[in-house]
């Protein structure tokens, strides 16, 4: 295994972390968008409270992956930058608007337009981003990219289905995660049945989309499809088991277990893809080897990553522990 391979593994792990944390945040926005009926306001509040302390940290995983990509595989980043402009710009606009709208709603007190406008901006941009990122990912799989043909990635059927699949996966994660948040406090417990239904619905959607996706993979991206059949079956099985188990766990009100298994379901898909993609970064254009920066730089980056993790892991652990349970409202009041 070369240093570049190792860096690619680090990137995949970073991407997994982003999908499981940041992805779920986008999914939260999707449920904000789809919130209807009597409980809509409560549900939006639940989403907002769950996002508050963690979304900025979750979001840095994306920056981490982008930075790894342009520092470790600069040539691939050059290709991506000059061929995938449309999906990337949509993702960017989504990211910028989502973040800004979230804080504007939380802190704006109506100074810059009614809060619920920002709420809608937040919800819509949350839904756009995973689709755009899914489309961009699909283009790396097919290798169907060319300078001067910016529309190719967004008009490919495979790309669009991948985008929608990404959206459904984030929605699934968010619904599962939110079940635990909702169940943790008596004020929000009544939201659990609705969220469970949503988790089930999005899981079914993911399954159906996957069924459409597989034949498309064979017709649109034969190179990756062959390697997929060779290498990715274990991951797919892992993913399917994870998905089913998480639904069972939800049904039995074992929300923590449901979170873990839902995470495995999504990670399995990503790993299956990564295994089939290797050694290509952009199929037909750049491989891990051909696009790699000089070895010494990659080694330095890997060392920096290790040192960084020493700071990062305990900090993240503290963050999630601190906010694992709902506000200790009653205690705080009792004490003061």
């Amino acid at each position: 295994m070369t240093a570049a391979d190792l860096l690619a593994v680090v990137m995949v792990l970073g991407l997994t972390a982003y999908a499981l944390t940041g992805g779920a945040d986008f999914g939260g926005g999707v449920w904000d968008l789809l919130a209807r009926g009597r409980d809509a306001a409560d549900q939006r509040r639940l989403v907002s409270a769950a996002l508050g302390p963690i979304w900025e940290a979750n979001h840095v995983w994306l920056i981490f992956v982008v930075v790894m990509m342009f520092s470790g595989f600069p040539e691939a980043f050059g290709i991506v930058g000059s061929t995938l402009e449309i999906p990337l710009i949509c993702a960017l606009a989504g990211i910028v608007l989502r973040g800004a709208a979230y804080v504007y709603r939380a802190y704006g007190s109506g100074a810059a337009g009614p809060d619920h406008w920002w709420g809608h901006v937040f919800a819509v941009s949350s839904a756009i981003t995973p689709v755009a990122l899914g489309v961009a990912g699909a283009a790396l799989v097919t290798g169907d990219v060319a300078e001067g043909a910016p529309l190719t990635p967004v008009t490919s059927a495979f790309g669009i289905v991948c985008g929608v699949f990404a959206l459904a996966a984030t929605a699934f994660l968010a619904a599962v995660y939110l079940c635990r948040d909702a169940a943790a406090s008596p004020e929000t417990e009544h939201l659990v049945p609705g969220l469970r239904r949503r988790a089930l619905g999005s899981a079914v959607a993911c399954g159906l989309l996957a069924a459409v996706l597989l034949p498309l993979l064979w017709s649109e991206a034969p190179v990756v499809a062959d390697r997929f059949a060779d290498r990715s079956v274990p991951f797919v099985v892992l993913s399917a088991i994870g998905g089913v188990t998480s639904l069972v766990a939800l049904w039995q009100h074992r929300f923590t277990a449901a979170r873990v298994t839902a995470g495995i379901a999504v990670a399995g898909v990503l790993w299956g893809w990564a295994a089939a993609q290797y050694p290509d970064l952009v199929v037909g254009r750049a491989t891990v080897d051909s696009a790699a920066a000089p070895e010494a730089n990659i080694v330095a980056m890997l060392i920096a990553v290790c040192c960084g993790l020493v700071v990062l892991v305990p900090s993240l652990w503290m963050l999630f522990r601190l906010f694992a349970n709902p506000e200790p409202e009653a205690e705080a009041e009792a004490r003061s």
Partner: protein, 515 residues
């Protein structure tokens, strides 16, 4: 020596102009414009990400020790503003990291690896900052006051380090070294190349001081305006005092670092120095020209004030020091000296004005202390106006400084190695992308200004009810000091939201109806 270089670069330039079609020229212009706008937008928020945590460390530290509600009120107000500024800084920064690839694909493809270490470490600095900001903003009820205060340390340190890392990347673009290239491909690069760049030390310190000055100046300005409107309570006085102190201590230091910077630039990027000073022709006994407009035709500055010999003296401590002029390189390798000279003068002029303010305030403070007068900081109307102007002046000086650094590097994206027009995207979509970016940023900036204005005019928040806190996620009021008393503030302010406080708008009351 110079001539040989001239001939060589002439040849290079001729080879270049062949493929310079109009389409790529406009797309270069648009890409440059977009980079400049995005960076300027980002830096306006990033400076608060660097400066604000240090100020918060001070005010919240005072609150933890004294439990004085005025310190708490300052902490609460600033942490709310910081929350918004940080989030906008974070998303605009994310946009930048994508944009580098979208706008300058060839630059990233060739040099991304060289900058790898800087950006990787930068990524971890962001992580640390974002994680602890989550704890800080949302952890008021879950952490003890002391632990809460402690979470500011990693934020402040990481913010400062993120400046370090990003500036090394920029410094390397200005003075690239420690990298070997063959046929336009990097074959070996020392991992620490960006950290070894000749301009890195002064750029870093200059930028950190600038960040502190901008934060201090804006904070001081907000409270100065409040006081001009008649709110002269302890809350406003302390806010003003802290902001002004930071600004005025950094201003003289900035001059020292700036002078150092100019000497390094003179050595490493002589053409940039020539553009800064509007020096057309290489000469000894070079004068320093203040103000004026550089005329490309004659290579002279019109309407400027010339101080004979000074530039040579400042650069080499001797009037015989030869200073290279713009004419030493062919025209297409010269930066836009009109703009760079102007920007440089704006920065130095504003810097000098702030130093003068610093000296004047320092003098008055000493005088008042000797006479035993309080408060020490003068609060007459002219002083307050000056304080109010100091924030925008610092920000303007910083922007001008970046125009000097980046504009003075032109036409190179990586000095002497890669030209901007080689690096740029060939996308035909640039006009649309550019328009979209401008509109998006304009909209976000307008909304942000409205929100910050509301925050700034909303008055201090003291003793708001816990019920509000659960909705606006961060309000740090769960642990009011047990002995909280009506502080030294207008009575209406302590009622919870400042509704009687000047503007009459009431932020917290509105939150109900929109959920």
């Amino acid at each position: 020596m110079v001539q040989a270089a001239e001939v060589l670069s002439h040849v290079a330039a001729l080879a270049q102009t062949g493929d310079l079609n109009p389409a790529s020229a406009t797309s270069t212009g648009l890409a440059r414009g977009q980079t400049a706008i995005s960076l300027a937008f980002h830096i306006c928020f990033a400076v608060f990400g660097v400066g604000m945590p240090w100020l918060l460390l001070y005010v919240e530290g005072r609150w933890v020790r004294t439990r004085d509600p005025v310190w708490l009120a300052l902490t609460r107000k600033w942490s709310r503003a910081f929350a918004v500024l940080f989030a906008v800084g974070a998303v605009s920064g994310t946009a930048l990291s994508f944009e580098f690839g979208l706008l300058w694909p060839a630059f990233m493809a060739r040099y991304g690896g060289v900058l790898g270490l800087s950006f990787t470490l930068e990524g971890f600095a962001f992580f640390t900052e974002a994680i602890f900001i989550g704890m800080y903003l949302y952890g008021w009820k879950r952490l003890s006051p002391r632990a809460h205060w402690l979470t500011l340390w990693p934020i402040a340190i990481a913010g400062t380090f993120s400046t370090l890392f990003i500036i090394t990347a920029n410094a390397w673009m200005n003075t690239p070294g420690h990298v070997t290239e063959v046929d336009g491909k990097v074959v070996s690069a020392e991992p620490f190349a960006p950290f070894l760049a000749a301009t890195a030390p002064h750029q870093l310190i200059h930028m950190l001081l600038a960040a502190m000055m901008c934060t201090g100046g804006i904070v001081a300005g907000v409270y100065a305006v409040g006081m001009l409107r008649g709110r002269r309570d302890a809350y406003h006085q302390r806010g003003l005092r802290i902001g002004l102190t930071v600004l005025l201590v950094c201003a003289p230091l900035q001059l020292i670092v700036g002078d150092w910077a100019a000497r390094v630039v003179g050595n490493e990027q002589p053409i940039k120095l020539a553009a800064m000073e509007g020096l057309g022709h290489t000469t000894t006994h070079a004068p320093l020209t203040l103000g004026g407009i550089y005329d490309e035709q004659t290579g002279e500055v019109r309407h400027g004030i010339e101080i004979p010999n000074l530039l040579s003296l400042m650069q080499g401590f001797s009037a015989d020091k030869e200073i290279i002029g713009l004419a030493a390189v062919p025209p297409e390798e010269r930066p836009n000296a009109l703009l760079v000279h102007l920007a440089f003068n704006v920065m130095v002029g504003l810097g000098m004005a702030l130093i003068a303010l610093s000296a004047a305030v320092g003098f008055v403070v000493l005088l008042r202390r000797r006479r035993g007068q309080r408060p020490l900081v003068p609060t007459g109307r002219p002083w307050l106006w000056a304080a109010a102007a100091s924030g925008p002046a610092s920000v303007l000086a910083m922007m001008a400084g970046w125009e000097v650094t980046e504009g003075g590097r032109q036409p190179w994206i990586v000095y002497g190695r890669m030209r901007v027009d080689e690096a740029v995207t060939t996308s035909s979509g640039m006009p649309a992308i550019f328009t979209g970016t401008v509109l998006l940023y304009l909209g976000l900036a307008t909304a942000l200004i409205l929100i910050l204005r509301r925050m700034a005019t909303g008055g201090p928040e003291l003793g708001g009810s816990v019920g509000e806190a659960t909705r606006a996620p961060d309000i740090p009021d769960a642990r009011p000091a047990p002995d909280q008393q009506a502080p030294n503030l207008p009575a209406s302010a302590s009622a919870g939201d400042g509704s009687g406080n000047g503007t009459g708008t009431d932020p917290s009351g509105r939150e109900e109806d929109t959920r």
